[in-house]
């Protein structure tokens, strides 16, 4: 943590130098690739507000909603129509990298945009009903290893989507073979999936910690592991990580931005530094605390590498389960 902070201080210092070179003028636009009310919409609006408070933008940041194809419409728009726009940010998350890795945006790939930075995350969890026999992640994974078909998972994403992939990431890290035969039941959202797990029809739930908060509080759901590097802050502090149970599985659903790749190089640098500085600010920490976002912020120069790595990992997994050929 200390290391990260000093890094962002460094970045902030660098920012003040480079700020002389390029500064946004006029209107800055942030595209949320979904309808109002969702996670991407939240990313655009809250980051836009904090940027205004910190004086990073001359006027206001205008949020445009551009729904369709799980972000594909906005991605295509950025690549084909706005490829040299220096004042455009587009909200993204692990859902974006998942679809890119699985070639769900026809003819497009992660290299076609500039990845700016991440500003926090929601972490993946694996949970069971309160009266389940599985007491920890190792119990569950031992059962999977003994017979891949014996544990049925339910999640709120489509087959091959992020919730499904988290199961596979954990099973792979635990050393389970034959990943394609692990049964995964896809529901329209995490809530429906949890109902089936609590009702005893499906064995385990895979999802993000934020969507399960209600059932964790009511005691209906027992979280076996959170797929984070270290224990989460606050009231989730008593949930063990997969890592401390000896299973090296990480599943951050990060929130961040990409921008057009042919934008002015100085502008790209400006926005990378701006996100760095924003992440370190007290204003943003308050936003994260209010909305249950958990700290997650790869250093500015490592974010592109992180995205590339995530896309590669997901692509490999998707091939292993036969979703990609």
């Amino acid at each position: 943590m200390k290391f990260k902070q000093s890094l962002s201080l460094l970045a902030a210092a660098a920012f003040s130098v480079s700020a002389m070179a390029w500064e946004p003028s006029g209107r800055v636009e942030c595209i949320a690739p979904a309808d109002p009310g969702g996670g991407w919409d939240f990313t655009c609006r809250s980051v836009g507000n904090v940027m205004e408070e910190l004086g990073m933008v001359p006027g206001s940041v205008q949020t445009t909603n551009m729904a369709g194809a799980g972000g594909g419409v906005a991605f295509a728009h950025t690549v084909s129509k706005r490829n040299d726009d220096s004042k455009l940010l587009v909200a993204a998350s692990t859902a974006t990298t998942t679809r890119l890795a699985q070639q769900q945006f026809p003819g497009m790939n992660a290299g076609m945009v500039k990845w700016v930075g991440a500003l926090g995350a929601d972490y993946g969890i694996i949970a069971v009903s309160q009266d389940s026999d599985y007491e920890n992640l190792n119990d569950l994974m031992d059962a999977v290893k003994a017979d891949p078909r014996s544990v049925k998972f339910a999640g709120g994403s489509a087959n091959g989507g992020w919730d499904h992939l988290k199961v596979l990431i954990a099973a792979k890290a635990a050393g389970a073979g034959s990943l394609p035969s692990i049964p995964y039941l896809s529901y329209n959202n995490g809530g429906e999936a949890m109902t089936q797990v609590i009702g005893g029809h499906v064995d385990a739930f895979t999802g993000d910690i934020s969507e399960a908060t209600g059932f964790i509080d009511s005691g209906d759901l027992r979280v076996l592991a959170v797929l984070a590097e270290e224990r989460l802050p606050g009231k989730f502090g008593n949930i063990p990580t997969a890592r401390e149970q000896g299973i090296e599985a990480l599943g951050p659903n990060w929130r961040g931005f990409y921008m057009p790749t042919n934008a002015d190089p100085e502008a790209k640098e400006y926005w990378v530094n701006a996100i760095d500085e924003l992440y370190a600010s007290d204003e943003w920490k308050a936003v994260m605390a209010r909305n249950g976002l958990i700290p997650f912020h790869p250093p500015a120069d490592e974010f592109e590498a992180f995205v590339t790595q995530q896309v590669d990992d997901i692509e490999t997994l998707s091939r292993e389960i036969g979703l990609l050929r």
Binding site: N65, G68, V73, A158, P183, N188, Q196, I198, H201
Partner: protein, 508 residues
């Protein structure tokens, strides 16, 4: 006790000034829409969905507005039945039988007042039933696994035509159309795209709301343009209200029986309000025998079906809220609205979105009271609206539809899609194809497919799981009955209904 506490919290939501105002607006607009012949409650709610989006309402307020419209439309349907002998919506058909003769005998005011009181009591009974039954069913709903859900969806499809459905084949075709539309987009069970032809806008499938607004609201406009029905209608004069306490007292037993029967009919998936009013009327006629003068303008003949259809309208909310399976066409539209507000109906909703569920239930109670107040002293206003030429009403409807749909996604593609659905709706109406099964097909089809897939994964491909529990077997039996009964009883019932209407015409 717990229920009472939740209900109090619901009142806290529903009684905020904004929500109260929305309930009042919804009740008023609903009555208007119900009163206009041709625009049923399903259309009414569909037309006002864009309004909720245009105003940018939070979920609980949007649902309060739309359920008030729903309750209002149930009240409004009776007005044109009584004054014009044209039912405002299908459930109000039975009200014509005694309502119109009463109006012809110079008792229009009395018929309207009696039906308003009966609607109020029926609605009240239905809502109380909803309050008592829904939390119990919500807890019970946790025992529904994929196999039970699959059987339940089969049941919903089997009873779709209902007993009053005219042409079962057309219902099947319409439902199939709906299922076909719903297969466009990503198939969540395999993660592959179906029928998207590389068009990015189709990747997430076709939005229910687009289809609903297009099919119902836009096609209504097209029909109007074709008919050029610029003239208002000739009405029976409404005289001064002469209703004694004795009259009201005399309809009470009928009203209570009608309300309870209606509620039970409403709870059954697929059956809905039309069945509620029909059962209430025919059983009351049987029960009273020679003591009643049904068909000649008996007050009880107005009270029974009105109590029945309003009881059924609340009853139909029970399976929609607890299981996510709509009990009628209008609740299907409400369900689509809930889904697009990102709320999952079902047992979860009662714990996770308690404010919305109980806010809506409290709004129903308040709405009923508002409707009674609106419908007795202000009946003259609604009667006047019946004579307003639709050339002023429909352009407004269209404007709201366009603005509302655009404000959801800011996509012109969606607008083209909506217009396309409007044209399709117009053609289907010309073919006398029912539209509600299309919506039900769109909503239920993917769920049925998903649950079948899940049941197969859980059982490792053993089909036996589908009838593996007593609950599932029970649901299959009811589904079987639902499929067969209309063919056995349907023709008899429809024959009787026709006869009843014919007799009525003769006695004029």
């Amino acid at each position: 006790m717990e229920t009472l506490q939740f209900l109090m919290e619901g009142f806290a939501v529903a009684l905020t000034p904004t929500n109260l105002l929305l309930a009042l607006c919804g009740a008023f607009l609903g009555t208007l829409i119900g009163a206009l012949p041709g625009l049923g409650p399903a259309n009414g709610v569909a037309i006002l969905i864009p309004l909720a989006f245009t105003l940018g309402l939070p979920p609980e307020s949007a649902m309060i507005l739309l359920t008030s419209v729903y309750a209002g439309a149930m009240y409004g349907g009776r007005i044109s039945s009584i004054l014009l002998n044209i039912p405002g919506d299908e459930p109000a058909m039975m009200t014509c039988l005694d309502g119109y003769p009463m109006a012809k005998n110079g008792k229009a005011a009395e018929a309207l007042a009696v039906s308003a009181i009966a609607s109020f009591i029926g609605g009240l009974i239905g809502t109380i039933g909803l309050i008592l039954l829904a939390p119990i069913l919500a807890r019970f709903a946790l025992t529904f696994g994929p196999a039970e859900y699959f059987a339940l969806f089969v049941l919903a499809f089997a009873t779709l035509g209902g007993i009053t459905g005219k042409n079962p084949m057309k219902t099947v075709v319409a439902a199939t159309l709906g299922i076909m539309i719903s297969t466009v987009g990503i198939d969540i069970s395999t993660g592959t795209q179906r029928y998207t032809f590389g068009v990015l806008e189709l990747y997430e499938g076709i939005d229910f709301i687009l289809a609903i607004v297009g099919l119902f609201a836009i096609s209504e406009l097209l029909l109007f343009i074709e008919e050029r029905a610029g003239k208002g209608r000739a009405l029976i004069q409404v005289g001064k209200l002469k209703l004694s306490m004795k009259d009201i007292y005399s309809i009470l037993p009928t009203t209570f029986r009608g309300g309870i029967l209606g509620f039970v009919a409403g709870v059954l998936p697929g059956a809905g309000a039309s069945l509620g009013s029909f059962i209430a009327y025919t059983l009351e006629k049987k029960a009273l025998g020679k003591k009643g003068r049904f068909g000649e303008g008996d007050m009880r003949g107005v009270a029974a079906p009105e109590a029945g259809n309003n009881g059924a309208s609340s009853g139909a909310l029970v399976p929609m809220l607890t299981l996510g399976v709509p009990g009628s066409g209008t609740t299907a539209v409400l369900l689509a609205m809930l889904i697009s507000l990102n709320i999952t109906p079902g047992p979860l909703m009662f714990t996770q979105n308690a404010d919305i569920v109980w806010g809506v239930i409290a709004a129903l109670l308040i709405g009923n009271l508002l409707l009674l107040v609106l419908n007795i002293p202000m009946i003259g206003v609604f009667v006047k609206v019946l004579s307003v030429p639709p050339m002023y009403l429909l352009p407004m409807v269209t404007m709201i539809a366009f603005v509302g749909i655009y404000s959801i996604s800011h996509s012109t593609f969606d607008l083209y899609f909506m217009v396309a659905f409007g044209v399709a709706g117009y053609i289907l109406r010309k073919l006398e194809m029912p539209l509600v099964p299309i919506i039900l097909g769109m909503l239920l089809g993917p769920e049925m497919e998903k649950n079948l897939g899940h049941a197969m994964i859980i059982s490792d491909g053993n089909w036996g799981i589908l009838w593996g529990t007593p609950l599932a077997v029970g649901l299959w039996l009811v589904a079987g009955l639902g499929l067969i009964l209309p063919y056995l009883i349907g023709p008899i019932l429809r024959h009787r209904m026709r006869n009843a209407i014919k007799e009525d015409a003769v006695s004029d």
